[in-house]
Symmetry: D2
Subunit: 351 residues, 4 copies
């Protein structure tokens, strides 16, 4: 089967770099074009980018000339698929234009996430939400989004617990600086400090969690009736969002039952053995002081950063406490979007 | 009035150093003797200590010879008052021995906090708990403890809100490394990392909060009927514990009412204008990204570190969210203990 | 004597904030006006600034309306003296225009430092260089600059050693992030890292050191015949540049002689007891692991940050090794500039 | 050829962990036994160790029972080869005892490095120093040491430049906390700080550099006549020592010539294609702000951490400036020792 030719929008930022790293050697997709802001346009990628996400810029994009991020340019390049790592502000129009012009757009951006017929897809969690694309009013193309970085770990951990009757979720995040992008957090602000605020993050967690765990009703989603309370903070950590989570259930819960549900959880991506799908979406660490961003972000050579790590599980009455760790720029961004595209392809809506 | 001669137990650690810094120039107390582990015994304090808490070791203790931490030694030194910054393990016996021998012991240690007739005193919060000392079975002396560092900020913030009917408290902490003491946290463990575990800390927050906010009934305390859920983590911050707090009330709350209660809150230490009492125990910061450990630990020259800073107040239904910041080694340790002694003196039980 | 009315150019940046902090309560100067970039113009300072340098924005500038940074605006405000904390790029023209229009300009900027008749003044080191202003071709006004931040500590330490015959200087710096300004260093770049490069810094150290220690010959300076070799790196430290220094002398040196020279060093600012002058410009720390940025930046309540700390002195043959620590935004920036103005006033060229 | 059975002394520390990581899947050696302090003795390695150096404890040592670090125990285990990661204090006697009893000991410890007939071997630099073992007075066994961590990078960079006539070396180090071991540097000391002192480090750099680059004369080494000046500091970096180096040559040097010598440098380990030998011992980075510990410690999947990275080469007259980066726990410790053993085996003195 021929590889689909991909265009990556916003290719010089952190998430754009992860898209490149993941797609540089992917069985389904190949990188056809890269776009960035006008400042970078016309330059060779390898010379222009401040590469931060792995040892070296992949050979395949070293000399690729960066294109301008505009719909006309992208349409002229005529890719089979578009991955978007654009800032929210400029993503809204161009993503809609490209979809309307017939392109499938897999977007990490928040711009269209809460649009009623746009799925926030996490294939282990809400695979049927992919169906929403049939109801989009966007010509032959469509937009599929992945969730906000901190939401991704949260809903993956919640999914297998839903059968216990999740009523309420209280979360406090410890978020890494890479989530704010290349120059998002100044060293003067974060060295030896914690900043208890991230713009819009708490509202995103509340809205997206309820939508992702919600029930699809033809072309829209009825939000899950879960009470979500979120508090977000930035910490001096490079990669990996840690989250302190309290879940209120309908009935008393036992640790054994919870661990069993979490460890046995798999979804369609696992059944389909998609390239980006981890063998297990959730791993429970049993040491008493884990997960830790610096030590547990990756479980080893086979872990692409798509596995969410859980630890410090504690039950009391109807409440379950845990800490979870999610790789914010992979499972919470570029990796999530690529998994969505793999899933869409497996479902026959991408060719 | 003659100053009371104080002996500081465990004077070389971080909390011991803060005791010295505060008492070096105090109107009620003067430093008479310092104890430390056998390794330090017999050395001049200024040469032995690895001083970390201010610019210089105060002149008054520079050449003071460190004594052994043992009851006989302390009794031979015959102080008027004892401040204890000992590790919990060795504090239990010696504090009891000194009290039994007639000495008033103001302890920062956890050893006796949960003893039924030992108060965990925060004079703005539970001044009448000082009465418990009458029921202690410890001869002419007594033990007064202050709370665990993270608990101190929490109960101060809760006190004025109790009239709104506090039912439940969910807290996640971001704790500074100084709380673990001089060599408590290795740099290899915490640089660029978060450790989601602190030994016993969560149980301390639960137990102490309920006791401090509880009702004294002659010689014991009936714990407050508040459901407390705590999750504790260590972050790469030097000083200042930040806490994400969710409070469930009996009825819907409004921000205006909450701010009014918090900002108008004062207690007996303020009425008595005790030296360590801040003019206001609680200060609400109105910027959207505060309080931050590095920027808000001190409000200025008049702030000794006893003021708890609150911010990001959010109300939804019966729930109030906030972040609070407490100076862990001052309001959460040495400063708290000295304030307790000042309060005891004002109440006539110290002379 | 009436206070001179000062205008601070570039008042919202880190150095501008230090100017305000220092001048808010100064015996010779009072803040009359503040300028910043167009983005800030017209806003009240207290609402616009992201204040980082002390607890609170001084009352006196809270409601002061920020002016545009342009020569016409400043001239219309008609101050007695101008302090400039502008970025080098935009400083060059406006500083020259203001001087030409008759104003004395005390600048922290690099723009005019190497102009032949502009002094890089450090009054303890080269007080007679102030005479250069007579030869400036700038109408009734003049420009006095202070040195680059890392150079300031270096030449202060060298001054008293010059009599031993300094031939060569080899320096490697460990520079704090505040030296790069408000958003100069991204957290992604510096957390857990060292960056062995700072734009132009090495050339500045070489050129400025030779000029400051050089001999004035009427209207210009003959550079000191010292061989200077500099290597500069950025480290994850907030404030305080540490420098590893090797000095080659004409003859063998002894530690005792070096310490004596360093500790007895004073200059005209000390003789004149100028407000910003530290009682001793140099302090030698005798512990074996000092100076350290976090612990030694300030020596105590009387230390405004103008004292350079030295330590780890080692002699071998004709070579002297040491580490020095300089407060980069005070002795290396705003404080240096204010001291220069105080000195100019004492010398009768400012009224 | 049968694998040699290795015993690792001091297996729970950082360097011991790297020995295990490297030897867990090595073509020449297999792990036979592990020793540690009495506290760990008798426990399974996987349960006892606080594993820090990679994702997971290798399967092969998970259940291996830790032995006591004493000569009798090791001799009873009868290994073919001993790798020592012991602290210097306890290494001296046991390493001598094991060698005397006939065992080849490859030691990362400083204890015997400066013994006249003990080589500090870096096979790319001084391969003939291996001959020294014939002159050791240690029975049938022998001791081969590798250098101190910061020295290793330095002498590798110097080796190809020796033909230009190296007369003098001035180095300032920026050393990572992992070099101090598991609990060597407290977070209170290093967060946001630089500590300009590391016990004995400067003397080690001076002595070892001169010995390694020295000329073997039968059973001893005549130190190289190079003047070495070292200043060492600890920085808040996890792994990777950065060093600012100034080299004085006999004659003027050109960048082109220096780069050519550095990039073409290879040694016997490369000719022998030893498993731990990097394809090139030295790599010159041409970006203007490299090497950086966080970004350049590894060049990619093929880089085991044995390549030294150089950058910011600057020539002026007879002087060459550069920054170099060495992986302190690999090229500067465990990897160096394993390479030495591979080299000894290739030379026929290990079987």
């Amino acid at each position: 089967m021929k590889k689909l030719r991909a265009c990556i929008l916003g290719a010089t930022g952190i998430v754009g770099q992860h898209f490149i790293r993941i797609l540089a050697d992917h069985p389904f997709f190949e990188i056809e074009a890269l776009t960035a802001s006008p400042r970078s346009q016309g330059h060779e990628y390898g010379r222009q980018v401040d590469w931060l996400v792995s040892e070296r810029v992949p050979e395949i994009v070293q000399e690729m000339v960066i294109q301008d991020t505009c719909a006309d340019t992208v349409l002229r390049l005529d890719p089979d698929i578009v991955f978007s790592a654009l800032p929210s502000g400029i993503a809204s129009d161009i993503e809609a234009q490209l979809a309307t012009a017939g392109l499938p757009v897999f977007s990490n951006t928040g711009a269209h996430r809460m649009d009623s017929s746009v799925p926030i897809l996490i294939p282990e969690v809400n695979p049927d939400h992919l169906e929403l694309i049939k109801y989009q009013d966007l010509g032959d193309g469509y937009i599929v989004t992945n969730s906000n970085c901190s939401t991704s770990g949260l809903v993956l951990a919640l999914r297998p617990l839903m059968e216990l009757g999740v009523r309420k979720l209280t979360v406090t995040t410890f978020q890494a600086v890479s989530g704010a992008g290349r120059r998002g957090v100044s060293s003067l602000d974060i060295l030896g400090n914690v900043i208890p605020f991230i713009t819009n993050e708490e509202a995103k967690i509340v809205g997206e969690t309820k939508k992702i765990l919600g029930t699809r009703s033809t072309g829209e989603v009825i939000p899950a009736p879960i009470d979500v309370n979120a508090s977000c903070a930035r910490v001096p950590v490079l990669d990996g969002h840690l989250e302190s989570v309290v879940i209120d259930m309908d009935e008393p819960v036992s640790i054994d039952r919870v661990v069993e549900l979490l460890e046995n959880f798999t979804g369609e991506p696992q059944a389909l053995t998609l390239p980006m799908a981890p063998s297990r979406p959730l791993v429970v660490l049993h040491e008493n002081d884990r997960p830790q961003p610096k030590r547990d972000l990756s479980l080893g050579s086979g872990d692409l950063g798509m596995t969410v790590k859980l630890g410090r599980l504690r039950c009391q009455g109807n409440q379950l406490n845990m800490f979870l760790l999610v790789h914010n720029t992979i499972r919470g961004a570029a990796g999530a979007s690529v998994l969505n595209a793999e899933f869409a392809r497996a479902k026959g809506v991408l060719a």
